[in-house]
């Protein structure tokens, strides 16, 4: 286990360096100039040059990279050009909101995916299975931002059931110690705050989670179908167990492995999806921050955010690999 973690840590470091280089070069060669976004019209050429020198943008890309990387390894990602704040503290203050949203969306996706896959197998070769398959096909074809817009129109405008923007009602008077609002409200037992977080969060979480739920349903149902003809399933039938117990107790764990693989891969799309979803729901996470950073050509902030996303992906892949061992006893001690 120790050797495994060490190898993964080295791989992660190499990945991060690669990501940093690519992003650093890319944001500097694409059109758009951060200085042009900050100066007032009619500024003199000398002022522009002075600003350029102030931010170090007059040096070569290679020189700029080494300056940036030298600071980055000490944990200093510079100052945001547009927001004039420290990049690290800015990201750390917004990251919890995104992590909670992504976690909620994933939890919803897994719950819905497992329930519908199991129901589909329970009704295998009967009419309800066709309804589940057909409905699932439709959900598979609709991307997250369409769900977001549909929810806003449906539950925000047509039947105003829930707030459609923000993370929490600003009128709520509650001093959070951390920015993990949901976790903190849960631990401190604040029911009213939790309810408001739910009211704000269910639409973006559901919009983000539905496409993943449909993918999990399809993959898991397929592998459950295969598992149901295995000999150990026949043995469970011959022992006198009912169908639900057999699907959940015997087949599910073995069938979960392909579904886990696809969930791990699709999770990166889900995190990428937070960028649009957070913008649509004005949700104060790093996705929303990323869009503003790109619009303002805020180079230090963009770089910091990309590295953050890369760290999240690496962490998720690592957790998926560790979960394989949990599901498949043959992979343990090995």
């Amino acid at each position: 286990m120790g050797a495994f973690l060490l190898r993964r840590a080295v791989e992660a470091a190499l990945t991060l360096i690669g990501v940093a280089i690519v992003v650093f070069v890319l944001v500097r060669v694409v059109p758009g100039d951060p200085i042009a976004m900050m100066i007032s019209p009619g500024a003199s050429e000398a002022d522009i040059q002075a600003l350029r020198a102030l931010y170090g943008l007059d040096k070569s890309i290679l020189a700029q990279f080494f300056i940036w990387a030298g600071h980055a390894v000490t944990g200093d990602f510079g100052t945001s050009i547009s927001l004039r704040q420290n990049v690290v503290s800015l990201i750390l203050s917004r990251l919890p909101a995104t992590l909670e949203l992504a976690a909620a969306a994933t939890a919803l996706a897994v719950a819905l995916g497992v329930v519908f896959a199991v129901l589909g197998i329970m009704w295998s070769r009967r009419f309800p299975e066709k309804i589940i398959d057909g409905f699932n096909g439709v959900v598979l074809a609709i991307p997250d931002f369409i769900w977001a817009l549909a929810f806003i129109l449906l539950f925000g405008v047509l039947f105003p059931l829930a707030p459609i923007s923000g993370r929490i009602d600003p009128r709520i008077e509650f001093e959070f110690v951390t920015n993990f609002y949901f976790v903190e409200a849960l631990l401190r037992g604040e029911i009213a705050v939790l309810a408001d977080l739910f009211a704000h969060g269910w639409m973006p979480a559901l919009a983000l989670g539905l496409p993943l739920a449909a993918i999990i349903t399809r993959v898991l149902k397929g592998s459950l179908d295969q598992a149901m003809v295995e000999d150990y399933v026949t043995m469970a039938r011959v022992k006198g167990f009912g169908r639900l117990r057999i699907v959940v107790g015997e087949a599910l764990q073995n069938a979960a492995i392909p579904a886990l693989t696809i969930t791990g891969v699709q999770f990166t799309f889900l995190v990428g999806g937070t960028v649009l979803i957070e913008k649509i729901f004005s949700y104060p996470g790093i996705g929303n921050l990323a869009i503003d950073a790109v619009i303002n050509r805020d180079l230090p902030l963009i770089q910091g955010l990309i590295v953050t996303f890369a760290v999240i992906f690496i962490f998720v892949n690592l957790s998926v690999d560790m979960m394989y061992a949990l599901l498949n006893p043959r992979l343990r001690h090995g």
């Binding site: 026949t234 043995m235 011959v238 022992k239 006198g240 599901l327």
Partner: protein, 296 residues
Amino acid sequence: MSNTVLTIANLHAELRAGRKTGPGILRNVSLTVHQGEMHGLVGESGAGKSMIARAILGILPRSILISDGSIDCLGRQMVGLADSDRRKILGRDISLIPQDPLTALNPARRIGAQMTDVMRLHLGWSRARAHDAALALLNEVHIRDAEAVLRRYPHELSGGMRQRVLIATAFACEPKLIIADEPTTALDVTVQKQILRLLREMQNRHGTAILLVTHDLGVVAKMCRSLSVIHSGMIVEQGEVSDIVTRPEHAFTRALFAATPRYDRPADALSPVPGEVVRELEEKAATFDRARAGLS
């Protein structure tokens, strides 16, 4: 009160597709297993012996339909039995020793969980009580360090060990009838003998009736008192093993005896059973396909 645990009478089974039924897989099969006896069911691959086993357990493939006859097990009619009623009998009164111990255990669950679940389901025992019973059963099938084995996963045990576990589990609820479906076919030759001896020993101790499904007449001759020989879905010979071994009536039985390899004969003296079940079945299936094609 008769002392039979299983009576199959005039059983017919057919392949079906839609509303159309096809060739007979089983034809007029009748068979009786008495309390505490080991009955051998012998036949070639494809003769229909596993179909009989599956018909008793109610786990026939969807494409096979029992068209006539009855399966009476402990006074209950198994043909057409509701699923909920069948589940009360399976595992409790009838259990199965499967053909392939390598695939019959769930790779994701510990041995202990897979042995105790059936006792907790049917006997309503607590986890602790079922655990103790599983320990005793493992000792009965001569597994050393039983406590540790209960904590293991199937992949950590050898094929022979897994079959011992499955035999122990089959006896867990003290069933009246055990169906052993080719219990040694998937095992190493050296292990086969030990497993058969163990099965015999367990049967004597528990007095359970066993229907031993096998292609090996030699095994039946050693293990069973009575036997049925099945050929192309029909029982061609039935009776006491001692009678049939000395005076086989049907040509197929004689051929089966001749085909049983013996150590006192050179290997090249092997005489295969004449005729081919497979070809016969293929012909039947072809007829069926033609009939179905005519239907659509």
